[in-house]
C-alpha cells in the first residue's frame, strides 16, 4: 500500500524553483502546477463571467436590444462550457494539486510530468474554443449539451469545439489518474484510508468518476463529429440512429459530471466547518460512505435530464426513483455538517462564512433538484428558468462558494501572508446577497413558464428579470474584490503562522510552515 513512497525524499534538490518563464513551462512541482491551475481558473471565471453579463444585460428588459440572437445563444453555450471546464473543474484540480500531497504527507504528486502536461493542455484547449468566435458561422450556439441535430449544423466552429472538448477530456483524465495514484500510493505511513482528510476522500471518488465518464463524453462528441463529416448515422433517424441516443450518452457523462463539480466541494466544506466549529467532523465514516453512494447513484440517474423526450413509462419511473434516492446520502451529509456545528464554538472567518452559505444555499439547490426529479412536475419545469435556478444554486453558491471558501482557508498557507479580512468579508456579504437576488427570482420566472436559452421574453416576465439582472451585475462586480484580495495576499501582508487559524485546524498541512516550502515533506511525517 501507501508507504515506501515517501521514505525520505531526496536530499540534493535545489530547494528553490527555477527562474523566469521556464519555471512555469517546465515545472513538475505540485505547488507550481496547482498555482497555475488556480490562476487559469480565475481568468476563465472572469471570461465566463463576462459572457454571463452579456446574457443578463440582454435579458434586463424584454425585446432584443444589445446583441443578435445567434450571438446571444453562443454566449449561453460558451458561458457554460467555460465555467464548467475552464473555471470549476480546473479550480478543483488546482486545489487537489496543492492540498492532496500536503494532506497525505507526500513529497509531490505521483506522476509529476503528466501533472504538468494535464495543466498545459488547458490553455491551448481554451484558445481553440475562444477562437471559434472569429471563424465563419460564429461560435457554437446550440447549448453546452451539444444536442444534435442542432449542434451538427454548426459552421466552422463545430470541429473546433469538438476537439477543444477532446483536449479538456485528455487533461481531466490525466489529472484524475494522478490524483488517484497519489492518494492510493503516496500516503505517509500510518495515514490509513479512514484517517484521510475528507477533501482527499471526495477527490479520490471524484477522480474515479472523471476517469469513468470523460471517455464517454469523448465518445459522444466523436459520434457528433463523424455524423457531420463522415456520413455516420448515430443520431440520424433516416439511417436507423436516434438523436435521443446522443442525450443518453451525453447525460451518462453529464450527470456524474455535475457530481464531479460538487463532491470536492463537499470535501472542502467538511474540512472547514469542523475547524471553525472547533469540533471534529460529525460522522466521518458516514461522510465517506455517503460520498461513495452518491458517486454510485450518479451513474443511474442520467435520464432525469430527458423526462420530456418520450421515454417508456418504466424508464421514467426508474429514473425518477433513483434520482430521489440521491437525496438520502445528500441528506446524510447536510445532517452531518449541521451536527458538526451544533454546540460548537463557532467563529466566522471568511472561509467559515462561505462554508455556511454553502450549506444553506446548496441545500436550496438540492430541494429544487428533488422537485425536478418528480416526473409530472418536471414536464412543467423542463427547459424553463426553474432548471436554470436549480443548477445555478448548486453550482454558484455551491461549487463556486466552496472553491472560494477553500481559497480563503488555505491562501495563507500558500502565500505565507494573511489577507485583508475586511475586504474578504465584504466580498462574502456582497456575493451572498447578490447571488440570491440573481438566482432566486429565476425560480419564479421558471414556474411562470419562462423558457431558458431565449434572448427575448414576454412582458409578464419583465420585473423579475430586471431584478435578476441587477443581482447579476452586483455579483459580477463583487468578484473583483475577490481578485483584489488574492492578488494583495500574494504580494504581501501580515505573516501567517504555521497554524494560520487560531481555531487549531487539524491535518498535516498545518504542520508545515507558511508558506509551505517548495519541496514539502522531505522527511516523512508521522501520522498517529
Amino acid at each position: 500500500m501507501a508507504h515506501a513512497s515517501a521514505e525520505h525524499a531526496h536530499d540534493d534538490h535545489p530547494d528553490q524553483p527555477a527562474t523566469g518563464i521556464k519555471r512555469w513551462l517546465f515545472t513538475t512541482n505540485h505547488k507550481d502546477i496547482g498555482t497555475m491551475y488556480l490562476v487559469f481558473s480565475l481568468i476563465m471565471f472572469f471570461i465566463g463571467g463576462a459572457m454571463a453579463m452579456v446574457i443578463r444585460a440582454e435579458l434586463f428588459k424584454p425585446g432584443l436590444q444589445l446583441v443578435d440572437p445567434l450571438f446571444y445563444n453562443s454566449m449561453t453555450t460558451n458561458h457554460a462550457l467555460v465555467m464548467i471546464f475552464g473555471a470549476v473543474m480546473p479550480a478543483f484540480v488546482g486545489l487537489a494539486n496543492w492540498m492532496v500531497p500536503l494532506q497525505i504527507g507526500a513529497p509531490d504528486m505521483a506522476l509529476p510530468r503528466m501533472n504538468n502536461f494535464s495543466f498545459w493542455i488547458l490553455p491551448f484547449a481554451f484558445t481553440l474554443m475562444i477562437l471559434t468566435f472569429f471563424v465563419p458561422g460564429g461560435a457554437a450556439a446550440g447549448g453546452w449539451t451539444l444536442y444534435p441535430p442542432l449542434s451538427i449544423q454548426g459552421g466552422d466552429s463545430f470541429p473546433m469545439v469538438i476537439f477543444a472538448i477532446h483536449m479538456m477530456g485528455i487533461s481531466s483524465i490525466m489529472g484524475a489518474i494522478n490524483v488517484i495514484v497519489t492518494i492510493v500510493n503516496m500516503r505517509a505511513p500510518g495515514m490509513t484510508l479512514l484517517k484521510m482528510p475528507l477533501f482527499c476522500w471526495t477527490w479520490l471518488i471524484t477522480a474515479y468518476l472523471l476517469i469513468a465518464v470523460m471517455p464517454v463524453l469523448a465518445g459522444s462528441v466523436t459520434m457528433l463529429l463523424t455524423d457531420h463529416f463522415f456520413k455516420t448515422s448515430f443520431f440520424n433517424a433516416a439511417g436507423g440512429g436516434d438523436p435521443v441516443m446522443f442525450q443518453h450518452i451525453f447525460w451518462f457523462f453529464g450527470h456524474p459530471e455535475v457530481y464531479i463539480m460538487i463532491l470536492p466541494a463537499f470535501g472542502i466544506v467538511s474540512e472547514i466547518l469542523p475547524t471553525f466549529s472547533r469540533k471534529p467532523l460529525f460522522g466521518y465514516d458516514s461522510m465517506v460512505y455517503a460520498t461513495a453512494s452518491i458517486a454510485f447513484l450518479s451513474f443511474i440517474v442520467w435520464a432525469h435530464h430527458m423526462f420530456t423526450v418520450g421515454m417508456p413509462l418504466a424508464a421514467q419511473l426508474f429514473f425518477m426513483l433513483s434520482t430521489m434516492l440521491i437525496a438520502v446520502p445528500t441528506g446524510v451529509k447536510v445532517f452531518n455538517w449541521t451536527a458538526t456545528m451544533w454546540r460548537g464554538s463557532l467563529s466566522f472567518e471568511p472561509p467559515m462564512l462561505f462554508a455556511i452559505a454553502f450549506l444553506f444555499l446548496f441545500t436550496i439547490g438540492g430541494f429544487s433538484g428533488v422537485m425536478l426529479a418528480f416526473v409530472p412536475a418536471d414536464f412543467q419545469y423542463q427547459d424553463t428558468y426553474f432548471v436554470v435556478a436549480h443548477f445555478h444554486y448548486v453550482l454558484v453558491p455551491g461549487a463556486v462558494f466552496a472553491i472560494m471558501a477553500a481559497v480563503y482557508y488555505w491562501l495563507p498557507k500558500w502565500t505565507g501572508h494573511m489577507y485583508n479580512m475586511t475586504l474578504a468579508n465584504w466580498h462574502f456579504w456582497l456575493s451572498t446577497i447578490f447571488v440570491n437576488v440573481l438566482f432566486f427570482p429565476q425560480h419564479f420566472l421558471g414556474l411562470a413558464g419562462m423558457p431558458r436559452r431565449i434572448p427575448d421574453y414576454a412582458v409578464q416576465f419583465a420585473d423579475w428579470n430586471m431584478v435578476s439582472s441587477i443581482g447579476a451585475f452586483g455579483f459580477g462586480l463583487s468578484q473583483i474584490l475577490f481578485a483584489i484580495v488574492v492578488i494583495q495576499c500574494a504580494r504581501g501582508g501580515k505573516k501567517a503562522t504555521a497554524q494560520v487559524w487560531d481555531a487549531n485546524p487539524r491535518g498535516l498541512e498545518w504542520t508545515l510552515p507558511s508558506p509551505a516550502p517548495y519541496h514539502s515533506f522531505q522527511s516523512v511525517p508521522e501520522v498517529k
Binding site: E7, H13, I180, I211, V216, S233, A238, G239, G240, V244
Partner: protein, 295 residues
C-alpha cells in the same frame, strides 16, 4: 534538468523541469488544429502531418527520457507502483471509451430501430414518418442509407475472416503470456521469440482487418455511411483496429528493449503494461466478435 539529480534508490524520484509536457501540449494543439483545418477545408489533408510528426517525436523523446531514468535505477518500487496504477486507470478510461460505442450499438439495435418500426409506444413514429419501414438488425435505417442505389448491403460473416482474427488474437494472448513467464524465469531467448510472434500476430490481425474493410467497401456495400449498422460496425472495429496497431507498435518497442538487454525478472513494468494493454484489446475484440459479427 532531470538528469542532474541522481538520487538514492529509496526515495521517490521526482523529475525536475521537463520540456516534454509543454511540447506535448503544443503537439496536441498542432494535431487538433491540423484536423480542424482539414475537416473545414481551410487546408488540404497534409495539414495533419506536422501534428503527427510531432506526436511521434513526443513519444520518442518522452519515453526515452523515462526509459533512461529507469535504466539508471532512479525508480524505486513506489515509483513502479505509481506507473502500474497509472496504466491500469488509463486502460479503464479506454474501456469506458469503448463502452460508449457499445452502448450506441445496443441502444440502436434494441431501441432505436424497433421504435422507428413502430414498436412499443412509438406507433406514431411509424405511421407519420416511415410507414413502410419494418426494421430488423442489421439495418441501415428507413431511408436505407448506403452506397448502393437500391439501399441493400451485406454484413461480414462471422465465420470468415473475423473467426480467423479471433483465433489470431487469442493465440497472441497466449504467446505474450508465455513470453512473460519466460521473462520471469530468465529465459530471454524464449522471450524474444514469443514476443516477436506476438507482434507479428498483431500486425497480421491488422492486415486481415484491412482486407475485410476493403471487401466491405468494394463488394458488400458496407461503408461508414451504411446507416446505423455501418456506423457502429466501422467505428467499433475501427477504433479497435487502431488500438491493435498501437499495441503492436508498443510490443515492437518492448521487443527492441528486450534485444538491448532491458528488464529484469523482477522489474519490467513496461513489459507488463504493454501486456495488459494487449489483453485489453483482446477482450474488446471478443466483445466485438460476439456482438458485432456473430449475434
Amino acid at each position: 534538468m532531470s538528469d542532474a539529480h541522481a538520487q538514492s534508490a529509496d526515495s521517490y524520484y521526482i523529475p525536475h523541469g521537463s520540456p516534454w509536457p509543454i511540447f506535448g501540449s503544443v503537439t496536441l494543439f498542432t494535431l487538433m488544429g491540423g484536423a480542424i483545418s482539414a475537416l473545414n477545408g481551410w487546408l488540404p489533408a497534409w495539414s495533419l502531418v506536422p501534428g503527427f510528426v510531432m506526436l511521434c517525436l513526443l513519444f520518442i523523446f518522452w519515453f526515452s527520457t523515462v526509459i533512461g531514468e529507469n535504466q539508471r535505477g532512479l525508480y524505486n518500487l513506489a515509483v513502479d507502483r505509481s506507473f502500474r496504477m497509472g496504466m491500469m486507470w488509463f486502460i479503464f478510461s479506454e474501456v469506458m471509451f469503448f463502452a460508449a460505442f457499445f452502448g450506441a450499438l445496443f441502444y440502436a439495435r434494441e431501441l432505436a430501430v424497433p421504435w422507428l418500426s413502430g414498436n412499443g409506444v412509438k406507433v406514431f413514429t411509424k405511421m407519420l414518418l416511415w410507414n413502410d419501414y419494418a426494421g430488423s438488425w442489421p439495418s441501415n435505417g428507413p431511408s436505407a442509407l448506403g452506397p448502393r442505389a437500391n439501399g441493400s448491403f451485406e454484413t461480414v460473416p462471422a465465420l470468415g475472416l473475423p473467426a480467423i482474427n479471433t483465433a489470431i488474437l487469442l493465440a497472441s494472448s497466449v504467446t505474450i503470456t508465455i513470453a512473460h513467464h519466460a521473462l520471469i524465469a530468465g529465459h530471454r531467448g524464449q522471450v524474444k521469440f514469443f514476443l516477436a510472434l506476438t507482434f507479428l500476430l498483431g500486425f497480421t490481425f491488422v492486415g486481415f482487418q484491412a482486407m475485410e474493410y476493403h471487401e466491405a467497401y468494394t463488394e458488400l456495400g458496407l461503408t461508414l455511411g451504411t446507416g446505423i449498422y455501418g456506423s457502429t460496425f466501422f467505428m467499433l472495429t475501427g477504433f479497435h483496429g487502431m488500438h491493435v496497431t498501437l499495441g503492436a507498435i508498443m510490443l515492437t518497442v518492448i521487443w527492441f528493449r528486450i534485444m538491448r538487454g532491458h528488464f529484469t525478472p523482477q522489474r519490467h513494468f513496461a513489459f507488463e503494461a504493454v501486456a495488459w494493454y494487449w489483453h485489453f484489446v483482446d477482450v474488446v475484440w471478443l466483445g466485438l466478435f460476439i456482438f458485432v459479427y456473430w449475434l
